[in-house]
């Protein structure tokens, strides 16, 4: 600028420029600018300060150049400067340069966008710094004529040449710089665009592989490296089939070619399972979306690849879990259903369909729940009320009806759930059919109650029957001592005897209560009966006892009282349970049986013919022989105090005997116990006949009888009756005394008539003490207990004739005669 401006300047004298000084002045300008701009661009942090320093340097450079350039002038004049104007020129240069640099660096720091308009301001300032300084400097100068010798002309430059040269060179340089700037700016722009694209790729969540029209990979992102296991260098330049499993490679090539013809953004192979092959050979299920990229080098295809392994696994896990829960519902023992407010089953499981006796779920879903399933429609409404207020119902027992109208008792839990469409309530309900269980429970309670009654009755029966026997015998015997004309007394005695008889019947009834009722003999299929009772048996057994019932039948029918047989079974199973505190197996079998001759020889009371055998066998603790010998004794128990009554097996024995059957016990300590009950097969349906044999006339005899009875009154009336009918009677108050009497008399005694239960020694023990079968005399047992109880455990071994108390005179005499007449 300076030299162009000097070209515009002229003095009356010619002006030449000294070359070295001129060059120095240009050097000053360049160096000062360099230092100034470098300083100003130095630190962004303290930019304001550094720009101030840099600007000052540039300003001083401008001024320095100017005054050095002036000093290069060679002319016939001397230059004088006005000092304050010089100062002003320097100030202008410094201030304007500072301001210009400040703005320029603000743009460089990005505080303004680098538009032309934005750059114009600092440009004018800087231009002003140069021009303002120059012309102020020229203003400060006065040129006084002087004869100055022309300096030794090393190089004098002509102002026109200098100005033109510097001006042209300057303009050329400016143009060059601006062009360079444009190129650089464009270069920076492209790099930035690429950088942005790359960042976009790297920040994408998916792996991205970009390939050209031939399928060669040109770009991948870091996610793609991670996903495939290849490095960038191993992928770029290779065909994309490197990532495709071999079996899909051909198809992939074809599809790729097809896509290149019709490129559009879409997901790849919709509906197909796509797989990506990793470097290690592992395949991953993936989802791929494709997009075309039009570039100057042609079409590029970008593939965004997403690993869906986890999603697949989650889907599979979900499917598995759903199947599992569906399975649970389908196979549940409980009925499970969803019911809508308007009384329709929305879903039902097979258990519910079975429970309600329907053939299919579809059929069940047709019915109106309130009308067809609830026995009482009001209960349906009540339940809804409860559900509305409490949102759930737990363990409610209500009556339902099956398809055929059969009532069933169900226990249900229900809770309200929101229906999918949200506009009506739906109830999810679990239902259990407890009909059978409730019935069994009632049956069990009844059995237990009866057992208690029986126990109580048995307890009083002995003494009470003794009392009745005394009354009865005396009343019957009385008329024999009356002379003629005492008919009224005879009537009174007969009245007494009838009343005593009635009392005896009442005791009998009470006793029979303990067996539900009087035996009612009917034709019974034991296999059927046992199979029917097995659920009840299961109920009284703990979990750790396995019940195996083998009662398929068919077996012969027997004459039996079903209730009694059930009671027998219940007793035996109860005992078996108590014998297996640590669990085990309980077998209940029913089968036809025939007692062989050997067995019958050892069990004389076993009649000939076919039997049905009911056997109950446990794997429990078993019994030793001593215990076995006594198990049928009344009030004998091996169970802890309070657990057993001691009557169970006694009653079993008695009942079986009443059925004309046999009981066989086999037991080994530690191995378990087996009870075999033999019921005789019914000969004919009409075998119910009682012995209606014509009553033989009462006969006495002349034999000697030992009467053993602990009840004094009964003993004395018995003696009286027997003596009256011609017998010689000895008496004893208990077994021990009887033993003494017997030993004293020995051979003279033809028959012992003994009470069975006595203090000290009972009837059966007495029989044994007398030497048992073969040695002992004939014996007739009497008892107020039922026969079975009175006989006790030894009865099987000693089938002694039995006389039930209270006896009538006829009973006593007939019984005595029958035993004496036996061969």
């Amino acid at each position: 600028m300076h030299f162009v401006a000097m070209l515009a300047f002229s003095l009356p004298v010619p002006i030449q420029y000294d070359a070295p000084t001129t060059l120095a002045s240009i050097g000053v300008a360049i160096v000062a600018s360099l230092l100034g701009i470098a300083l100003a661009s130095r630190y962004r942090a303290r930019r304001r300060m550094w720009v101030l320093g840099g600007g000052t340097l540039v300003g001083l450079g401008i001024a320095g150049m100017h005054y050095l350039g002036m000093a290069a002038m060679r002319m016939s004049a001397v230059t004088r400067y006005a000092p304050w104007l010089v100062a002003l020129s320097v100030a202008i240069a410094v201030v304007a340069a500072c301001a210009a640099l400040r703005v320029a660096f603000s743009i460089a720091d990005g505080r303004f966008s680098p538009t032309v308009a934005a750059r114009l301001g600092p440009s004018l300032l800087l231009g002003g710094a140069i021009s303002g300084m120059h012309y102020t400097g020229m203003w400060a100068a006065t040129f006084l004529p002087a004869d100055v010798p022309t300096a030794p002309a090393v190089w004098n430059l002509d102002p026109a040449v200098l100005g033109t040269a510097v001006g042209v060179a300057g303009l050329f340089l400016m143009a060059l710089f601006l062009r360079a700037d444009t190129l650089v700016r464009e270069g920076v722009g492209v790099r930035r665009a690429e950088e942005r694209f790359r960042r976009l790729l790297e920040s994408a969540p998916d792996a991205v592989v970009i390939c050209d029209g031939e399928g060669r990979i040109v770009l991948v992102n870091a996610q793609a490296e991670r996903l495939t296991g290849y490095t960038r260098d191993e992928l770029v330049g290779r065909t994309v089939e490197r990532l495709v499993p071999d079996r899909y490679a051909d198809g992939h090539r074809r599809h790729r070619a097809g896509y290149a013809r019709q490129p559009r953004t879409r997901s790849m192979g919709s509906g197909l399972e796509l797989a990506l092959r990793r470097k290690d050979g592992r395949e991953l299920p993936v989802e791929i979306s494709l997009g075309p990229l039009e570039t100057e080098e042609g079409l590029l295809i970008s593939a965004a690849i997403r690993d869906v392994t986890e999603r697949k696994q989650a889907e599979e896990a979900l499917a598995r879990s759903e199947a599992k829960y569906r399975d649970i519902v389908q196979n549940a023992a409980y009925g499970i259903a969803r019911v809508s407010r308007d009384g329709r089953f929305l879903t039902v499981n097979p258990a519910l369909v079975r429970m309600l006796g329907f053939d299919s779920a579809e059929e069940l879903m047709e019915v109106d729940v309130a009308r067809d399933v609830y026995a009482d429609a009001e209960q349906w409404e009540e339940q809804w009320e409860r559900l509305r207020s409490e949102s759930r119902v737990d363990d409610a027992e209500i009556e339902w009806r099956k398809k055929d109208g059969t009532p069933i008792r169900v226990r249900m839990s229900a809770r309200i759930v929101q229906a999918a469409n949200g506009d009506s309530d739906v109830v999810e309900t679990f239902v259990e059919d407890v009909t059978e269980r409730r019935a069994l429970e009632a049956q069990l309670r009844q059995s237990q109650k009866m057992e208690a009654v029986g126990q109580l009755t048995s307890g009083i029966a002995h003494d009470f029957n003794n009392v009745l026997s005394v009354i009865l015998a005396n009343a019957q015997l009385g008329p024999a001592f009356l002379g003629p004309g005492s008919e009224e007394v005879a009537d009174v005695l007969e009245e007494i005897a009838r009343a005593a008889q009635r009392g005896a019947e009442m005791v009998g009834q009470l006793l029979s209560l303990s067996r539900h009722a009087d035996l009612r003999m009917r034709s019974v299929d034991l296999a059927h009966l046992v199979a029917g009772a097995s659920p009840m048996l299961r109920l009284i057994l703990p979990e750790n006892v396995e019940l195996r019932v083998s009662a398929e039948g068919p077996v012969h029918t027997v004459l039996a009282d079903a209730g009694s047989v059930e009671q027998i079974l219940l007793n035996l199973v109860n005992n078996a349970r108590d014998a297996m505190p640590d669990g085990g197996v309980l077998h209940v079998d029913v089968d036809d049986a025939r007692l062989d001759d050997a067995y019958r020889a050892s069990h004389p009371c076993a009649g000939p013919g076919a039997y049905v055998c009911l056997s109950v066998s446990d794997s429990g603790v078993g019994m030793n022989e001593e215990t076995q010998a006594r198990i049928f004794e009344p009030f004998f128990t091996s169970k802890p105090r309070g657990v057993g009554t001691g009557l169970g097996l006694a009653m079993v024995y008695g009942l079986v005997r009443q059925h004309g059957g046999l009981v066989h016990v086999y037991s080994e300590p530690g191995r378990g116990t087996t009870f075999k009950l033999y019921f005789p097969v019914a000969e004919t349906e009409a075998a119910v006949a009682e012995d209606d044999a014509p009553r033989a006339e009462l006969r006495g005899g002349s034999e000697t009888i030992l009467l053993v009875e602990d009840d004094d009154a009964l003993r004395s009336v018995g003696r009286r009756v027997l003596e009256r009918y011609g017998y010689t009677v000895l008496t004893a108050a208990d077994g021990l005394e009887a033993l003494e009497v017997y030993r004293a008399e020995r051979s003279g005694i033809d028959l012992v008539v003994s009470d069975s239960v006595m203090p000290g020694m009972g009837g059966v023990e007495l029989y044994e003490a007398l030497g048992g079968e073969g040695t002992a005399p004939r014996m007739l047992l009497m008892s107020g207990y039922r026969e079975a109880l009175a006989r006790g455990g030894l009865a099987g071994a000693h089938p002694l004739p039995f006389l039930q108390k209270p006896w009538t005179i006829e009973d006593l005499l007939r019984g005595v005669r029958a035993v004496l007449d036996e061969e």
Partner: protein, 57 residues
């Protein structure tokens, strides 16, 4: 008596244009300096803008 200086108005205008153009070039180059990456490129850029300024003056 000092010599009376005289100015050619056209050339004065040209001088102003040259000054402004030089300043514009310098400012343009400086404003780009933030985009230049690398130490050498930065130095070259700095030198170029300083040259524009120096020559312009």
């Amino acid at each position: 008596m000092p010599y009376p200086p005289s100015y050619d108005p056209a050339l004065v205008v040209l001088s102003l244009v040259v000054a402004t153009l030089a300043a514009y070039t310098t400012v343009t180059l400086i404003s780009r300096i933030g985009e230049v990456e690398g130490r050498d490129a930065y130095r070259a850029w700095l030198t170029t803008s300083a040259m524009a300024m120096g020559v312009g003056i």
